[in-house]
Symmetry: C2
Amino acid sequence: MIIGFIGFGKVSKNLIELIKSDEITFATSLENRSDKTIKNAENHDIRILDTFEEVVDASDILISANSPKSAVEVAKKYGKFCKGIYVDLNNVSPDTTVKISEYVEKFVDGAVIGKIDSTNPTVYLSGEHANELLFLNEFLNVKIVDDASKLKLLRSTYTKTLSALLIESYELSKKYDLTDEFFEVLSLTEGDEFRDKSLSRINNTQNSLKRKSEELEEILDYFGDDLEMVKAAYRKFSQ
Amino acid sequence: MIIGFIGFGKVSKNLIELIKSDEITFATSLENRSDKTIKNAENHDIRILDTFEEVVDASDILISANSPKSAVEVAKKYGKFCKGIYVDLNNVSPDTTVKISEYVEKFVDGAVIGKIDSTNPTVYLSGEHANELLFLNEFLNVKIVDDASKLKLLRSTYTKTLSALLIESYELSKKYDLTDEFFEVLSLTEGDEFRDKSLSRINNTQNSLKRKSEELEEILDYFGDDLEMVKAAYRKFSQ
């Protein structure tokens, strides 16, 4: 079996590291890719083909994992040539997912939950052909749901707004010189990992405020703009 | 040693159950108390005196645990007669704590963190005489900090706003008929207890929306009204 990748960033790289099987060959192309991607691919056991057309043609499973912005374009360009299952793993909205599915025959909507580079990441899949990917459970945690993109977006309403709350509370604790005490007192009820987990969330968010703010905009577009807490998080990230 | 109580509700009741020592006698009065309080006291090993004046006079440690509203009044009425340590355990703001301290000589500000009816609750204490209460560590978790009320209020900015976020996300998951999926997907990153803990927070909050909303108002009064997330939680609770 051949699993092909369009896009060879963190997600693809980690999937290859997780899926170890003599029966599976990986393939991608480095056509017009960045130096970083080329280096990434060279360090992995993956067959490099000259063009993405060849990758699409050879793949039993084709994984699109590039960027939210190019996800539709990739489907438009390659979807019609894909005879296998086309899995979109980009972080796109439910509306964008519908657009992508229109260019592809055997479409599976996929959503990576949490960190892809953990030892047992979870990927939610949906679509008529999702069941055919259940064999991947041998290598990672695969769950079939009705609408992976919608569920991921719903999850984001909580996680991204929580990050905004953490940033606000953390800033307040710094203002009053009570940061250690703040984390300590909350660890009593939120668990021992509260400090590390919160600081990691705060840093991740502050390093990509613009993207987080765009994602919150997408949430408000999709779920409606009467979400007081999400709106406040959006304002906080746009400050 | 005599530990006296002004107020015999949940906090006092649970403290008596936790502090088991042959050397400690508990005392309170049932003067003008509700039937519920009288019943509560009758079920516990506590000496009932005729008046609160007698309780105050007899106590080496006097615990005021009645209600945020009556905390100042209690201090005003009994503080001056208290020769021992006066511990205020009411959920009051740092400003109210300062007011209370003005009526009392040996004042200790106390804040119960989390649930008082757990097996090992934590009580934060502050004030010149707080160290004299460290012996209570034998029975519960006592921590000395610079300003217990301020730390408790800072903690509340996080926990109460988190409850507002949980309510909003939970309502959204119900709207899309994805409640089970919502809790399941979040458990992957937030821990196995996420569902139970969240539902418990949601219920507690919805059962006392008015009080929670007043507490958020107090937070905004004290820490300033530029807290976007707390303000949104306040709006959510006042809807």
